[in-house]
């Protein structure tokens, strides 16, 4: 099946499982259309591998519309590839040229062990949320939604932080494999809203403690995380997390 005229050389990380070591394998893919998404190119390659009797390349993906956060390819040294504000699944082949060589690796972090090929284990993110990334409100306790006016600006900022899709690109982009952008997005969202105030200090302390326990590195403010974030989560959130954490450590909310 050939739909276009792009020919691409792919170098893809293959690794059988967590226990074995992996290596880059080279594949030629031909007849690629520029309207294909990057993952559809992988679909084409995988179908060919199956027909040749070779095991297809395992990669994580689900919604393919840039919102579930499941896709996670490290493309030519950049998480989610060359475009800003775009996930791997929304990257299209028109962003590449005929004849290009593209290197595709999994996320790289101690806290994200490889499951197989390009698939990694990001359950550490869930454990960070479970440690305190919520407002403790049981179902049935809520008052009327409009009884708590929230300035539009605060609501908009909280929304911008809440747009994080938990993909882990920030960690993958960071030379220290720090999860500060991810943690700060959730801490910021809830710290900006009145509902989040009662647990504000406790939340920052607990989430940071869990982040450290998972083996993520420290933040040295290089900003690669925000530059590579497909949802353009701002570095301001990290500054806010630092303030929250310091305030909580000193026992003040300011």
């Amino acid at each position: 099946m050939s739909e276009g005229n792009m020919n691409i050389t792919l170098k893809v990380w293959r690794q059988k499982n967590k226990k074995t070591s992996g290596k880059l394998e080279t594949y030629q893919v031909e007849g690629i259309s520029e309207d294909m998404s990057f993952l559809e190119m992988f679909d084409v390659l995988n179908e060919r591998l199956v027909s040749e009797g070779t095991e297809p390349i395992a990669f994580d993906h689900d919604c393919r519309e840039g919102i579930c956060g499941m896709c996670s390819m490290y493309i030519n040294g950049q998480p989610h590839g060359p475009l800003q504000g775009v996930t791997t699944c929304q990257l299209h082949m028109r962003s590449f040229k005929n004849g290009d060589t593209i290197v595709v690796e999994p996320w790289r972090s101690v806290a994200f062990p490889v499951v197989k090929d390009l698939v990694v284990d990001r359950s550490s993110f869930d454990r960070i949320i479970a440690s305190g990334g919520y407002i403790s409100v049981n179902t049935g306790n809520a008052q009327d939604g409009n009884s708590l006016p929230i300035p539009k600006d605060d609501a908009d900022k909280a929304f911008a932080a809440a747009a994080c899709i938990g993909c882990g690109a920030c960690v993958s982009a960071c030379k220290n494999a720090s999860a500060m952008l991810f943690v700060s997005a959730k801490v910021s969202q809830l710290a900006l809203l009145p509902q989040g105030q009662p647990e504000r200090q406790d939340r920052a302390m607990k989430m940071v403690a869990q982040m450290d326990a998972e083996g993520f590195g420290s933040c040295t403010n290089t900003g690669a995380c925000a530059a590579e974030c497909p949802k353009e989560i701002s570095l301001e959130n990290i500054a806010r997390l630092n303030r929250e954490y310091l305030g909580a450590s000193l026992g003040s909310t300011n």
Partner: protein
């Protein structure tokens, strides 16, 4: 008409049913809750909200999802909003009006009792989400903002830009993870349910596969909740996530749960058109866009001019022409059929001619002028107005416009969007009673996985409402009517013969799949199934096509089981094997959908039989013979028994649905 199924709708006046029932449903005391175990399969809006809420109540919960995290469930991709009868806009909304709109929108094929309950709890959902920190859109005064959706004339839709599903799911997910942290929920990610375990006629657990290691696991539960979403991926191309599947619901069906109204599928009118054979999925452009976008095609057939070059008087705003009262905001089934009608008649646009325009030029101009007035710019230039107007549109729909541009390579701020209908949602699903229990005792279905609230067509922004209603505010009460009689049942050890047998059957099926060792990939079978379904059981169906489809699906099934090729082994992470199992179930479901569509000799909502239409091409119902829920009981390969559940309307006057 035989009626084996008891919907258990409480007696009494419609508006008192739920209040009264809720106050009399048997309770389980807190100490007993701690020894009752509940399995929740799926962690979308319905599953996550149910698992969190049941754990808060004190039950021991085990939750399962096939993704790497519960936050990835496909509810996350819902864009436009969630309905609630708050009447914050003072525009005449009420619980009754939401109830009425939903019944009418569903083309009079949903239960009154269930839908009224849904409307009653809708307001509580918004309150709960706000309390969790869901950042809904707000006005400058700090209060919640609303917009309109199809099939209604009030503004009752709450939203968070074009990412409402994401924000609601992250709210439910945070509640779920909080219970995981506390230890009330045990979370199993990358696990897929592959069977229900039945003991003495009751659902008592599941067999799940650990997708990382390939190991099969046995899990006991006093009750099992399937919150596993819809089956739109039977069409291969749909707006569903790649992993969305019918497997859990289908296994339940084969263990005795009736599958209701499988032919009711929703084709969403505004999706990005197919660009080629490589296409792996379709992307929705939210219905909220129809608040501001106007839909049109050229008046002239096969017009080759670019959209912007076609003058106003040569455009046909066909929805505004045909349905002046609702205009571009007619319900989805009607908008989809109207687009298909224009394209089939030769008026389509774009290279494939299978698209219509969704145009924002008017909205940009209108908003630009309002902004100019706000800023006292009384002699603003056209360019200034356009620029300000684009900024307003960007704030409302920015992420959708970005997505469109990324996928098509065209800028929708400048050129009208090209859109075409695509499979989006399935109204059919496991049959459930008022308690959300299937006809199998102890086995429940919530959210899109059940059939209960949307009749033959779902209104926009009502899927999020139903998923969260079921999980936060319905099941926590109704499950008491079953579990209160289970307090003496001790946990059943998983070496019970029923577990052993169920696990063996699952293992045998996996071995069978792996050992076919044929030539064709699971993906290729899925594509072929999708084509049969779309061509013959899609937006329009007829008797001849459906009969052909059934024969073709049966042949495809034979081919699948004799020529499938799965690379890799069973005892490792193997997405090919997982996909093969899902495709096998989709093939069987596809046949049942055609059987159901063939049985229903009428058109209603999303089910359009070409033989049954009015002179104006509208759906022609047959209330005399088909005002029932078609619940199908599995009786063996390609054999089903129909158990109709009559629909009784005591409050709403049945009429031909009109949006003119």
């Amino acid at each position: 008409m035989s009626n084996k199924l008891d919907a258990k709708i409480p007696e009494g006046p419609l508006s008192d049913k739920w209040t009264k029932y809720r106050s009399t449903v048997p309770l389980v005391n807190p100490a007993n809750k701690r020894s009752l175990e509940i399995i929740v399969v799926g962690t979308g809006l319905a599953g996550a909200s149910a698992a969190a809420t049941l754990a808060e109540l004190g039950y021991k919960v085990k939750a399962f999802c096939f993704q790497d995290s519960p936050r990835r469930a496909h509810s996350i991709a819902a864009q436009g909003g969630i309905n609630a009868a708050k009447n914050y806009q003072n525009d005449g909304d009420s619980v009754y009006r939401l109830f009425y709109d939903t019944i009418k929108g569903g083309d009079y094929r949903a239960r009154e009792g269930n839908v009224h309950r849904l409307a009653e709890v809708s307001g509580n959902i918004i309150d709960q989400c706000v309390a969790q920190g869901v950042p809904f859109a707000r006005e400058y005064g700090g209060l919640l903002s609303n917009r309109s959706f199809g099939g209604t004339q009030v503004q009752r839709t709450f939203y968070a830009a074009g990412q409402t599903g994401q924000q609601l799911l992250l709210g439910a997910y945070s509640g779920l993870e909080r219970q995981v942290g506390i230890g009330n929920v045990t979370m199993y990610t990358r696990h897929e349910m592959l069977d229900v375990v039945m003991i003495d006629g009751k659902a008592r657990g599941i067999i799940a596969k650990n997708l990382v290691t390939g190991e099969l696991e046995r899990h006991f539960g006093h009750a099992v909740l399937l919150c596993t979403g819809g089956y739109g991926n039977v069409f291969y191309l749909s707006t569903n996530a790649m992993g969305s599947n019918v497997t859990a619901a289908w296994k339940a069906h084969k263990k005795g749960a009736n599958f209701a109204n499988p032919c009711y599928t929703q084709i969403h009118p505004t999706c990005i058109p197919v660009s080629g054979d490589h296409q792996s999925k379709l992307t929705l452009m939210s219905e909220s866009l129809r608040n501001d976008g106007r839909i049109w095609v050229p008046k002239q057939k096969d017009d080759k001019r670019a959209g912007n070059d076609i003058p106003e008087e040569e455009r046909d705003y066909y929805l505004e022409r045909r349905y002046p009262a609702f205009g571009n905001l007619v319900p989805r089934d009607i908008a989809s059929r109207a687009a298909k009608e224009r394209c089939d008649a030769g008026y389509g646009v774009g290279a494939s001619k299978m698209a219509v325009y969704l145009d924002f030029a008017f909205a940009i101009d209108r908003y630009g002028k309002i902004e100019a007035n706000k800023k006292n710019m009384h002699d603003a230039s056209k360019e200034q107005i356009t620029e300000m107007g684009r900024a307003v549109v960007k704030e409302k729909y920015g992420n959708l416009f970005d997505m469109y541009k990324q996928i098509t390579g065209e800028d929708p701020y400048v050129l009208p969007m090209r859109i075409y209908p695509a499979v989006h949602y399935t109204m059919g699903g496991l049959w459930v009673d008022y308690n959300l229990m299937t006809n199998v005792p102890g086995l429940y279905a919530l959210g899109e996985a059940n059939f209960s609230d949307h009749g033959a067509n779902r209104l926009g922004a009502s899927a999020l409402m139903q998923g969260l209603a079921d999980g936060y505010f319905v099941i926590p009460y109704t499950i008491g009517s079953y579990l209160s009689s289970e307090i003496r049942t001790k946990s059943i050890p998983t070496d019970h013969p029923a577990f052993v047998e169920a696990e063996k059957a699952v293992q045998d099926r996996i071995n069978k799949l792996i050992n076919i060792k044929g030539k064709q990939s699971p993906e290729s079978f899925h594509k072929r199934l999708g084509k049969i379904m779309w061509d013959k059981c899609g937006m329009a169906r007829n008797e001849k096509g459906l009969k052909e489809a059934i024969a073709e699906i049966q042949a495809l099934k034979k081919e699948f089981w004799s020529d499938l090729r799965i690379m890799g082994d069973a005892d490792e992470f193997n997405p090919e094997l997982d996909k093969a199992g899902r495709v096998a179930d989709f093939i069987e479901l596809g046949e049942l959908m055609c059987v159901d569509a063939l049985n229903r000799n009428e058109s209603c909502g999303g089910h359009f039989r070409e033989e049954f239409q009015t002179e104006e091409g509208e759906a022609l119902r047959d209330d005399e013979n088909y005002m029932y829920v078609a619940a199908w009981e599995y009786e063996g390969e390609s054999k089903w028994n129909l158990n109709p559940e009559p629909l009784i309307y005591e409050n709403i006057k049945i009429a031909q649905r009109s949006y003119k």
